[in-house]
Symmetry: C2
Subunit: 314 residues, 2 copies
């Protein structure tokens, strides 16, 4: 049997056909063009899956399920996207609408949950039952895997790890609160802090690496400048690691998982990121060395995680 | 069948025999005298249960299980108290040691987990499957019930909701970190903040209610003074409710439970506490009115929650 996984993004709909060994046999994408009526977006999702099946020469009779990872607040139990800011979607019956194109079951979940499930099924946490993934991108998504399954919360809108407080009354968050984890450890936040530091310290190498134009700032520049000895950049990087370490310590104290996974561009830093984080949380987690402290690792599947995870929702 | 529940406290060992309707048929307590060898404490626990059974005229053959709620870091799966600061306990094999006195199974968990389970089985969250309890006492314990069962975390030292950050770098916490939820919403923290405010504002009614001696400060005084219009006390109370609201919003965003329960002396404030908290979290939880926002309620079982919850561990 085969399963289809769809990663619904703001720019592209990515889909793949996944076999029982969690290999993606074929994948492709089409533009989302998110502002269309949702029925059209969903029709394109169905057609993309059917095209991939046809290219593989696989009939729908051996398709065990179709899963979708969607941004926004997803009611997985009801199959409804309650709200997605990117898409102007409200109460979109995604599972039912997509299910009309297939005879197999259709499941949906939040995209970060799918990425976490993908890494547990086939990636950095393979064969591990309890994992937490933080996606460090424009925002911060949280995926919680308990006993090998996605933990959604009792009601929709759980596992929103990025929207827990880190600094009460701090930086404004996209969710309307202040001081959320997302407002400090997203790539957006890192770039904001790097820009501020570069502005404050005109001699900082970060300005040079931006070619004198701070709109060129990205999440790599503060790390590059820091490893090169730049003091202002070092402070940005150290703060970033501290914020992320505090957030991870919180999630360890709550879930005490087998492993913490990170994904996003910042993971290109590899052990330069995960080593200081591991040291930091060893010192900060409740009961310290008396209790289990999980390893902090980078996710390894990249974009495939979302497809494999979505395929495993069913 | 009957079950025994034991609430192991720093001062007293409380135990009760619970029937299948979750009624405590009989209960009693003995002093813990915590600094003794743990074997003696555990022997007293066993003898107390056996005495209660004898008083009821119930044989051990109809005792289905014995459960213990213990302070500290508890490895429920292994039946071991990894660490308890109050008792100077480290790696105490509580379940095995107590089990030697009984032929039925023995289970252990953290005391806050037991209190949460008790409230779900017989108290403020009866017939509710997903609840979070915050015990607001000397410290802050967290009990997480998912699908009617205690959520311990994948490894021991999970569900420590009091040890998640609220104000990065803030007040020192007993766990060694700074700015934890416990350091702002425990009764200890409330009293600390009320003392500081009373000291800063000599005209505050809080000083009068303390009889001019701030060592008399308790968690009720700032509320009493605030309802009486005292400005300094109002600020203490408003800050307290804000801190607690932020913490609750975090736990809603993570677990999205059916209900949030609070216990501890501060719950004597009833709706004066829960109403503003409910309003606060409605505004702060992720996705606001688009997602389910749980009710905030006070626990109702008092000390019985720990006994009933412990009895239900088996």
């Amino acid at each position: 049997m085969y399963r289809a996984g769809i990663d619904l993004g703001g720019t592209n709909i990515k889909a793949g056909i996944v076999d029982e060994n969690q290999r993606i046999l074929i994948e492709d994408s089409v533009p989302t063009r998110a502002k269309r009526p949702y029925q059209e977006v969903i029709k394109d999702m169905a057609e993309l899956v059917k095209k991939l099946l046809a290219q593989l020469g696989i009939g729908e009779d051996v398709l065990a399920g179709v899963g979708v990872g969607s941004p926004g607040t997803v009611d997985a139990a009801k199959g409804v996207v309650l709200y997605s800011n990117n898409f102007d979607w409200e109460n979109v019956p995604l599972a039912a609408e997509l299910g009309a194109y297939f005879s197999c079951p259709v499941g949906i979940s939040n995209d970060a949950n799918c990425a976490a499930l993908g890494e547990v099924k086939a990636g950095a946490a393979k064969k591990i039952a309890n994992a937490i993934l933080l996606t460090l991108g424009t925002g911060v998504g949280g995926g919680v895997i308990i006993d090998g399954k996605v933990f959604e919360g009792a009601h929709a809108g759980g596992a929103e790890l990025g929207h827990t407080s880190l600094i009460f009354g701090g930086e404004a968050c996209t969710c309307g609160r202040k001081g959320c984890v997302e407002a400090y450890v997203s790539a957006t936040a890192l770039i904001r802090d790097a820009k501020r530091a570069a502005e404050k310290h005109p001699a900082s190498k970060m300005n040079e690496l931006c070619g004198g134009d701070l709109t060129n700032m990205n999440g790599k520049i503060p790390f590059d400048a820091a490893w090169d000895g730049d003091t202002a950049a070092k402070e940005v990087v150290e703060n970033y690691i501290t914020y992320l370490g505090e957030a991870i310590a919180n999630f360890v104290n709550i879930f005490r998982p087998d492993v913490i996974l990170l994904s996003g561009g910042v993971c290109n830093q590899g052990e330069k990121l995960t080593k200081p984080l591991s040291l930091y949380i060893k010192d900060k987690c409740f009961a310290k060395e008396r209790a289990f402290v999980p390893e902090v690792k980078c996710a390894i599947l990249g974009n495939s995680a979302g497809i494999i995870g979505a395929a495993n929702l069913i």
